[in-house]
Amino acid sequence: MEQPILDVSDLCVSYGKVEALHHVSIKVCPGQIVTVIGPNGAGKTTLLGAVMGLLPHTRGRVEFLGTAQRDIEVERMVAAGAGLVPEKRELFGEMSVEDNLLLGAFMRRRMGFRDERETMEQVYATFPRLGERRGQRASTLSGGERQMLAVGRALMGKPKLLLLDEPSLGLAPLIVREIFHIVAALKKTGVAVLLVEQNARAALQIADYGYVLETGEIALEGPSDDLEDDPRVIESYLGLGGKH
C-alpha cells in the first residue's frame, strides 16, 4: 500500500476524567474517501478535533503527510494542507459569502499564493447556489447553503486532506444527496477525504473504506462494500444487544 496521507495510531483523548477515545487507529491514503461512522456520542467529532489540533490528546501519534505532529497546532495543520469542515459549520455569520470564502484562503495568502480568485471561481462552479448569493450574509443562508459554504470555504485552502464532520447533519435527504455527490466528485480531483458520519448508508456508498466507532473505540472496520451488508452496523446504532 502506498504511504498514507494521514496515519493515526493508538490515539486517546480525555475530557477531564472521561476518556472519549480509546486507542483509535485509522489511515487515509491519497485519493481515498475514508469514513468513520457510528452513533451519536461515539467520539467521532472528538477524533476530528484531536487530529486537527483543536483538542489535545493524551496518548498516541498523528502523522500527516509523513511527518509526525508533536503538539499539533491547528494553524500548522492548515498550513500543511488539512481542511476541517466542522459539525457546527462555524461560518462568519455577519460577513458575506464571498468574504467567508476569501478567508478560507487566508493561510494560502499568508504563504504567498495569490490564486484565490481562481479557486473561488472553481468553488462557485461546484456550488452555483453560492455564486448566486455571493453578496449575501452567511447568516441568512438556508441550512443546505450553509453546509455548501462551509465545504467551499475549506476548499479555498486547496487542502490535500478534507475532514468532514457530519455534513448531512440536520439536512433534508435531497440536499444530503447533493452534498455527497460533490464529495464523491472531489475524489477525482485528488483530494483525500476523511468523512465522519452518522448517516451510515450515505457515507458507505461513497467511501472506499470505513470504520465503525462505538463508545470511543473502533468496533469494526473494512472496505465499505463489506460494511454495507454487515448486520453488526445496524446493531451498533440501535442497540439490539448481543453485539459481540
Binding site: 472519549a20 452513533p39 451519536n40 456520542g41 458520519e197 451510515a200 448508508r201 446504532y237 440501535l238 442497540g239
Partner: protein, 596 residues
C-alpha cells in the same frame, strides 16, 4: 497541630498584640484590620460569588463621610439630627445609605453580563471621589476635621490601642458572620452562582437576588470599615476613597486568596506590609519620590493570576494539617414536609404542538409528548434532531414560539426555570454541573433550596439551625436513597463521572419532585456504571416517579424505557414501546440514513 490550635495561637497573638508590640506596629495592625474588612467583602463577592467591584473604596468613603458629616455638623435638619447625635446612629445611617446605593448599582448591572458590574463600579468610584472633593458641605478636597472619638458604654476609645480591639472585634465578627452565611441555605445559593446561572436557577435559586445579597453585604463591610476609619483618624478627606485604593482592595482579596475568608486577612496584611516597605525602599532605589509601589503591585497581581490564581491562602492552608471543622455526621432532624405524590398513571407532563424557531430555523416542529407518573419515557433521535431544544423548552431554559407545555394541568411554558422547579420538576445536566470543591452533601442540599424559608439575616446569625438540620438531613436521605452514603462528605469533584451523575440525580431528588428530567445521564459512563444508573432509575420508577430521559445510548434506553419517542428534523417520527420503535423502518432510516 490542627487548625483550631493555629486559630487559637493567632487569636492569642491578636489579644496580646498591643501589650507587646511597639506603637508603630499596632497602628499597622489597625490598618490591616480596616483593609481586611473591605477585602473580606470582596472575597464574598469575587471568590465566592464570581462577581467583582473596583468601587469598594467609594463605599468606605460613604461610611466615613456619613459619620463625619452627621457628627460634626451643627444645626442638622430635624430629620437627620437624631442620626447625628451619636456615632453609632451615624453608623446606622451610613449602612442605610450604602445599602441603597449598592442596591441601585446592582439593580442596573446585575442582570447584564458579568463585566458590567465592575465597569459600573469604576464609574461609581470615580464619580463619588469627585463628588466628595467638590461638595461644599463635605469640606471639598480639604475634608472634614473634628470627627469625635467613639465611646463604648461611656468609655472613650481615644487612643490607638483601644481602637485596635474595636477594629479587630469588627473584623473577626464579620469573618464569623460570613462563615455562618456560607454555611447555610442562602450561602449555598450564593456558592451555586459559580456553577452557572442555569444550574442555580434550575435548583430554585433566584440568582439575581443572590448576587444582590453578596454585593450589598460587601458594600456594608466597606461602609463599616469607613466608619471605623473616620473615628480613628478623626478627620476625612477624599484621598483614601479614590478608584486606585478601590483597586488595591481587590488586589488584597485576589493575592490573599479570594475563595476563602482568611484570604482577606492574609491579603490585607501582605499588601499593607509590602506597601509600607516599598514606600520606604523604592524612592531610595529609584532616586525620586512617588507612589511607585503600584508598579510592583500591578506586576505581582499579574504574576499571581498567571501562576496561583487562587491566591496565597490555599498555599498557606496546606501547611496546616486537615482536621476539625470538616463535617463528618449529619444530625438527625424531623423530615421536611413532602408534596402530595402523583398516583401512578396520572399525566404529569404534557407538551402539545410545541414549536421553537431560531431565526428562520425550526428546531422543534409541533412536538407533543406526555410523561406519566411511574413511567420512564425516553426521547431519542439522531444528532441535531432537536432533542436538546425540546428539553430546554420543557425545563424553562427557553420559551416555545408557540404551543403549550403543561405540568399537572398547569401551563408552565414561559415560566422561569426556578418556578418550574418549585412545581415539582427536577433536572440533571448533560455536562455535570456540580460544585467540585463542595462536599456531596452540600451539593445535594442545594437541590433542597426551595424547601427552606429562612433568609440572610437568620443565616448570618445561625438562627436557622433547626431548618438547616432538616435540609441537611433531607440531603443525606437522598444520598442514601441513590446509594452514595459512603461518599457523603467527599468533595464532589473527587468522584468518578458515573457517581457525579448520580449525585446530580440526588440533588434533583432533594427538591422532592414528581418528575425527573435527565439530559443524557449515561453519556461517558462505563458499563457497570450504566447498570447501576439503570437500576436506580428503575427503583425510582417503582416509587412512582415520572422520568423523562433524553439519551444517545440505545442499549441503555431500549432496556429501560417504557415508551420511546423518536425525533428527526424537529418532529416526532415514531412513538411506542421499545420493540416497536426498534423495528420501525422510518426510525432505522433516520438513524442509518438513506440515499438512493
Amino acid at each position: 497541630m490542627g487548625p483550631r490550635v493555629v486559630l487559637a495561637v493567632f487569636l492569642a497573638f491578636l489579644a496580646l498584640g498591643p501589650a507587646i508590640l511597639p506603637e508603630f506596629y499596632v497602628t499597622l495592625l489597625n490598618y490591616i484590620g480596616l483593609y481586611g474588612l473591605v477585602a473580606l467583602g470582596l472575597v464574598l463577592l469575587t471568590g465566592v460569588g464570581g462577581l467583582t467591584s473596583f468601587g469598594q473604596a467609594a463605599f468606605v468613603g460613604v461610611g466615613a463621610y456619613t459619620t463625619a458629616y452627621l457628627t460634626t455638623t451643627q444645626d442638622l435638619p430635624a430629620a437627620l439630627a437624631l442620626f447625628g447625635s451619636s456615632p453609632w446612629l451615624a453608623l446606622a445611617a451610613g449602612l442605610l445609605v450604602t445599602a441603597a446605593v449598592a442596591w441601585l448599582l446592582g439593580a442596573v448591572t446585575l442582570r447584564l453580563s458579568g463585566h458590567y458590574l465592575p465597569l459600573g463600579t469604576i464609574a461609581w468610584g470615580i464619580s463619588l471621589y469627585f463628588l466628595f472633593g467638590n461638595l461644599g458641605f463635605l469640606g471639598g478636597y480639604t475634608g472634614i476635621t473634628g470627627v469625635p472619638a467613639l465611646s463604648l458604654f461611656g468609655f472613650e476609645l481615644a487612643d490607638t490601642h483601644h481602637f485596635y480591639y474595636l477594629i479587630w472585634a469588627a473584623l473577626l465578627g464579620a469573618i464569623w458572620l460570613t462563615g455562618n452565611l456560607l454555611d447555610s441555605r442562602e450561602g449555598r445559593a450564593i456558592r451555586a452562582l459559580k456553577g452557572g446561572t442555569i444550574m442555580a436557577e434550575s435548583m430554585g435559586v433566584d440568582t439575581a437576588r443572590s448576587k444582590m445579597v453578596v454585593f450589598v453585604i460587601a458594600a456594608l463591610y466597606a461602609c463599616v470599615s469607613g466608619w471605623l476609619y473616620a473615628h480613628l483618624q478623626r478627620f476625612v478627606n477624599p484621598t483614601p476613597f479614590g478608584l486606585q485604593i478601590g483597586i488595591e482592595y481587590l488586589f488584597m482579596a485576589v493575592i490573599g486568596g479570594a475563595a476563602h475568608v482568611w484570604g482577606a486577612v492574609v491579603g490585607a496584611s501582605l499588601v499593607t506590609l509590602l506597601k509600607q516597605w516599598l514606600q520606604d525602599w523604592l524612592p531610595e532605589v529609584l532616586g525620586t519620590t512617588g507612589n511607585f509601589e503600584i508598579i510592583v503591585f500591578g506586576l505581582l497581581m499579574i504574576f499571581v493570576l498567571h501562576r496561583a490564581r487562587d491566591g496565597l491562602w490555599p498555599l498557606l492552608a496546606k501547611l496546616v494539617p486537615e482536621g476539625a471543622g470538616e463535617r463528618t455526621a449529619v444530625p438527625a432532624a424531623e423530615p421536611l414536609s413532602r408534596r402530595a405524590p402523583a398516583p401512578a398513571g396520572t399525566v404529569l407532563l404534557e407538551a402539545v404542538d410545541v414549536v421553537k424557531e431560531f431565526g428562520g430555523l425550526v428546531a422543534n416542529d409541533r412536538m407533543s409528548i406526555t410523561v406519566k407518573a411511574g413511567e420512564i419515557m425516553a426521547l431519542i433521535g439522531p444528532n441535531g434532531a432537536g432533542k436538546s431544544t425540546m428539553f430546554n423548552l420543557v425545563s424553562g431554559v427557553t420559551e416555545p414560539t408557540s404551543g403549550e407545555v403543561r405540568y399537572c394541568g398547569e401551563r408552565i411554558d414561559g415560566l422561569e426555570a426556578r418556578r418550574i422547579a418549585q412545581r415539582g420538576m427536577g433536572r440533571t445536566f448533560q455536562h455535570v454541573r456540580l460544585l467540585p470543591a463542595m462536599s456531596v452533601l452540600e451539593n445535594v442540599a442545594i437541590g433542597a433550596h426551595l424547601r427552606g424559608r429562612r433568609g440572610v439575616a437568620a443565616a448570618v446569625l445561625h438562627a436557622e439551625r433547626a431548618e438547616e438540620a432538616r435540609l441537611l438531613a433531607e440531603a443525606a436521605r437522598q444520598i442514601e436513597r441513590v446509594g452514595l452514603a459512603e461518599h457523603m462528605f467527599a468533595q464532589a469533584g473527587s468522584l468518578a463521572l458515573g457517581k457525579q451523575r448520580i449525585v446530580e440525580i440526588a440533588r434533583a431528588l432533594a427538591g422532592d419532585p414528581n418528575l425527573l428530567l435527565l439530559d443524557e445521564p449515561a453519556a461517558g459512563l462505563r458499563y457497570l456504571e450504566k447498570q447501576a444508573l439503570a437500576e436506580l432509575l428503575r427503583k425510582l420508577r417503582g416509587e412512582g416517579m415520572g422520568i423523562l430521559l433524553v439519551e444517545h445510548d440505545m442499549d441503555f434506553v431500549m432496556g429501560l424505557a417504557d415508551r420511546v419517542a423518536v425525533m428527526e428534523f424537529g418532529q416526532k417520527i415514531a412513538e411506542g414501546v421499545p420493540e416497536e420503535v426498534q423495528n420501525d423502518p422510518g426510525v432505522i432510516e433516520a438513524y442509518l440514513g438513506g440515499v438512493d
